[in-house]
Subunit: 674 residues, 2 copies
């Protein structure tokens, strides 16, 4: 429509792609009140197939947005892994049973639920959190078709340096032919199929009608638009890595089989018929990852799609599982993919436009990492963008996104490479069979990988956000993320089982006033606040009370310095206390300084800030001090980032450190550009 004047509007954050990564970013914006638009080229959300393994850490994150219990209830919990290998006669047998999630690392364990349900829970959480302030809706059937970034404005807090032209598809254009069919051909979103974005755009332009385009100016933009990312292509960023020759099929079926471990996660290596992974799912479904040894990529490096059907995948699975029988009456979904590991060279342009999820890393789905790592990219990014947009944090913290997450992506790709090779390979016949894979090595790599795949080994390097010793650039992906001001180094020994840069572990504590037991993380909601956890120690000792009193006196000044005028004192940094005296030996109002349980004219005292490490009536004793490795008498203080990762650990006297730490990150309200 040449000459047409397009409608224009502005928005703080524009998110492209409403899969789990995009929705995670949107969840942060919704829960922290940022004006946001989310667009997705598809006209509907997906109903079958797609990634579904959920790590412990993802469940913890869902809990911080208030919907973990919905996932936990509907999901199939995976407790046990069974390894099956050929015996001397070549027949598969169960060689090992091990815990799927290493016991004790989290209050959740790995489970499996269809991605569509996760998206549903995100959408509900986003709506509930935002409808009163800045409603965040997902606009479906909307594509970006041009993108500009004005370099001259990137450091201007008030500017909207990003300009995007959006195209609204008709419902018909936005609905892939696949949808609505009884059984969907999963190949159309597999990496074996070409992307359809350009085709959608071309078709829609040809049929263009007035009102189908608009201009949006944004402060920040997050591209979560998948492996074929349109945003990444506009930025000209490259992916590094290669595909392999291994081709795998995926079947989601209700199996009819006499294989005894069909409801456990199984890793099956047959003698010469390829490998198979069993992932038991919700609603009696089981997902089978089946190696398709007979489908070999051609000269171009791509496998021939036409050779892949549910029947060929089933036939390959039957061979691997033999002599056990396998058939099905109901197939929910199927697909195939060719293993490839790639990481993007850049995760952002000018820390104004960001890429996350499949747009910057692709790998095989079998380690159950895809959806998790993608969501966690945006869990890392979202609060930073929100704090900067809202004028609470300084812009340069945004550089930690690439530093922290590109490093994780590299680690993931390394793990996946090793794991895929060992899983796709033929088992060694004996010790002299050097071409075969050692089943012992496979098990060892798998066991060592269990912490990695739980998501809990994520360990962010030194930066203005993490007060670790050592050089910041080396500990991340090379990006410079050191503090602009004085460098703070935490005293890690004060909490022997708490690690800087890792997520804060959670143990049971009791509310001081009503004795209700809580897993402490339930009070670390993802609402964009930093937190100081004051381990107040033995509040019945006079000396310790004096230390706490002195700390609280100075604490009040710090809180005031970083809190905008007129806002509650806990709106930027929240202080939560856990003490170690007997609960009934102290009284909240008499024994704890007011800054630890602020007073409001409308609501009285805040009764949800002070906790105790004591015996509960019904749930035993959490022994939190012991499990955190903190001195029961003297305590310590721990600073948590809004994503629950540990930023700083110090003594109650280290108030100066706190000032410097927060000074390096936060804006002091009087200095906000109005």
């Amino acid at each position: 429509m040449p000459g047409q004047i397009l409608p224009e509007s502005s928005v703080d954050v524009l998110i492209v792609g409403a899969g789990p990564a995009g929705l995670m970013a949107a969840a942060w914006m919704a829960h922290t009140g940022v004006h946001t638009r989310v667009i997705d080229k598809r006209g509907t959300k997906i109903f079958n197939g797609q990634a579904d393994g959920l790590q412990c850490r993802s469940l913890e994150i869902f809990d911080s947005f208030g919907f973990a219990e919905r996932v936990w209830k509907e999901a199939n919990h995976m407790l046990e892994i069974c390894m099956w290998n050929p015996d001397e006669t070549g027949k598969i047998r169960r060689s090992d049973r091990i815990a799927d999630t290493p016991p004790g690392i989290s209050r959740f364990q790995e489970c499996v639920l269809h991605q569509g349900r996760i998206e549903r829970f995100f959408l509900d959480s986003i709506r509930d959190a935002s409808w009163k302030t800045h409603p965040v809706d997902v606009e479906r059937g909307v594509l970006p078709e041009s993108l500009e970034l004005d370099d001259s404005k990137v450091e201007d807090h008030e500017a909207y340096p990003i300009t995007v032209k959006l195209r609204h598809l008709s419902e018909e254009e936005a609905t892939p032919e696949q949808y609505g069919k009884q059984l969907q051909d999963g190949l159309f979103r597999s990496n074996l199929a070409p992307d359809d974005t350009d085709e959608l755009l071309t078709k829609s332009r040809a049929a263009a009608k007035e009102g189908s385009e608009e201009i949006v100016r944004a402060k920040y933009m997050i591209g979560c638009d998948g492996a074929h990312s349109w945003v990444r292509r506009q930025l000209g960023f490259e992916m590094e890595g290669e595909p392999t020759d291994f081709v795998w099929g995926v079947l989601d079926i209700i199996p009819i089989t006499d294989f005894p471990d069909i409801r456990n996660r199984c890793m099956i290596h047959s003698a010469s018929s390829g490998s198979l992974m069993v992932i038991p799912r919700e609603n009696k479904l089981v997902r089978l990852y089946v190696q398709l040894k007979e489908v070999v990529p051609d000269a171009s490096g791509r496998a021939d799609r036409s050779k892949i059907t549910p029947d060929t995948i089933l036939a390959a699975a039957q061979k691997t599982l033999s002599p056990y029988k396998l058939s099905y009456k109901y197939c929910d979904w199927w697909t195939a993919y060719q293993i490839g590991q790639r990481v993007g060279r850049n995760f952002s342009k000018q820390t104004r436009i960001f890429l996350a999820g499949d747009a910057v890393h692709t790998h095989s789905p079998k380690a159950g990492q895809g959806m998790n790592v993608s969501m966690q990219d945006c869990f890392n990014l979202g609060w930073k963008v929100s704090l900067v947009v809202r004028g609470i944090a300084q812009r340069y913290i945004l550089s930690t996104y690439q530093s922290e997450r590109r490093r994780i992506a590299q680690d993931l790709i390394d793990f996946d490479h090793k794991f895929s090779r060992l899983f796709s390979g033929r088992p060694a016949k004996d010790l002299t069979d050097e071409e075969g894979i050692s089943m012992q090595e496979f098990k060892d790599v798998f066991m060592r990988g269990a912490m990695f795949t739980s998501g809990l080994s994520v360990d962010y390097g030194a930066s203005m956000l993490v007060a670790k010793p050592g050089a910041a650039a080396v500990q991340g992906d090379g990006t410079d993320v050191s503090a602009k001001g004085e460098k703070v180094v935490a005293k890690e020994g004060l909490a022997k089982h708490v690690e800087l840069g890792k997520r804060f572990p959670s143990f049971q504590v009791l509310n001081q006033v009503d004795s209700r037991p809580w897993n402490f993380a339930q009070w670390l909601q993802s609402d964009g606040r930093f937190r100081i956890v004051l381990f107040a120690g033995a509040m019945t000792s006079a000396a310790q009370r004096e230390r706490v009193g002195a700390f609280c006196h100075q604490l009040e000044n710090i809180l005031k310095r970083f809190t905008p005028e007129g806002r509650p004192i806990d709106s930027v940094i929240e202080v939560l206390t856990i003490h170690s005296a007997k609960r009934i030996s102290v009284e909240l109002l008499e024994d704890f300084p007011q800054v630890l349980h602020p007073f409001s004219e409308e609501q009285g005292w805040d009764y949800n800030k002070v906790f105790v490490d004591d015996e509960s009536y019904h749930e035993g004793h959490g022994r939190a001090y012991e499990q955190y490795g903190i001195d029961q008498e003297r305590g310590c203080l721990i600073v948590l980032r809004p994503d629950q990762y540990v930023g700083y650990i110090g003594e109650l006297e280290d108030v100066k450190d706190l000032e410097v730490y927060f000074g390096n990150i936060l804006v002091q309200p009087q200095s906000v550009v109005k």
Copy 2:
């Protein structure tokens, strides 16, 4: 509209009143697929105030309908009770702290959530369970205005002996003036105010327009229409009991106070300014039950409503709490009531029309029993009506409703009478003060009452449903509920900690195939099925396997006899197995007879029927055999009613008992009247 021909329709079950009792009945109908209508005279559900304490047993019941976790998440959990009494100087002081729920009796503890939320969760559960078959909707602004029961048809399974004329109110007529105001005057639904049903009917008749009336014919009818029950009045049934002189006010506020236990449940007896109960609620609210010593009933026995305002209630509370301060900025709701204890003489007419909840028992709200006991009336009644309507059970089981629930209502009223007197009385100054109440006696009664108020002491007497020794009439309310056929007596000693007539306790067991830990009750969903729990014992012992094999052989015949042709073998009676061997020492498909894990052509084996009492990976060992008091080697079998109450306990050889037990209750399909 004289001469007008009214529309007529029929329905299996008509429920009058959509409060928690009516919705509980509706939940059964929805979850078991019974064609049902639910009507309520109000045009909207309530948003403030009303009963809110939830017993352990109510939470267990919610779990059996699939929504306990929603309540558990939103509710305020009450862990601790604090007793406050006058000291020697007359000043109140904390004399005791005790657990609110006796530890170990349930996997839930008492908690508090607004009735409106409970109704919301019921409505969601009803919709989710019924929308595919017989959608059960609540029709608001609909009143019954005439009721007839055709006595000649009450024993005819196919007949609709009940005829009701319904009137549909306009939205304006159905909305009380109260609703929509900022602060609602709770008195309009208090027992201090007259009922408005007749007024609503009269007004609506005057303004009557065509289409506002209809005739409904029903097989069964359940009146859950409150203390002023219209249904009860039509039946001419009387309530027995008396009001007392004690008048109490209720305030739901966000308190501003220095009283240290404002977030605990408190029982406060002041020296001479009356008593006060504190019930901490969700969203920072606290409910205060305040004795209004200065409001005394007049000659007619009724208190003067005009003297009761939020200010007078607050003033009385301030006096009792002195020297602590109390004020508020936000009041959510308030009301007042005069304590009275009454029980209906009849709970049903011809076991075709039933009354439940406040329609047959009223008492003071302070023991937190009202909503719970009312819901549990319908939890007892609902499955019986459903099984009879669906031709699965014999009609005479319906007589157990009055026998079981009227007895409970009588017990409740006795408890409430004693508790109210002790709580409303002035504390004794010393041992010689005979008019005063002994604080020790109050505490003793309260502690003894804790099991009662948990809802877990409910113990149904002998009947065709409960194979207890002794005379059926004596153990209930006098109604004859003995079996028509041979009497079966269970062998209670086989499960030392399981009691006939009480709800089956729940401990952790693991799924045999995937090792997932479950609280066993999670598999006892309220879907209308009886259950045989087979404690299969030591499945690795050859002798025990033989016993199990012999039992299963005969079991198949029993199941077939009571299952309608063409329906799955577990649709009337489900068999669940818990064995005591090590999980990894047995295999489901090899070691357990097929009847314990039925095969389906579409879905293969059923993997959710066989459980094991073994160590879990993450949640410890449930020690279920030990906690049930069952022999690890020999096991036993336990029959549960569809409401999870224990009906029968026997040896694996007691197949004859099973046949007689079920024969006394269930219809044998070939004998169903078509």
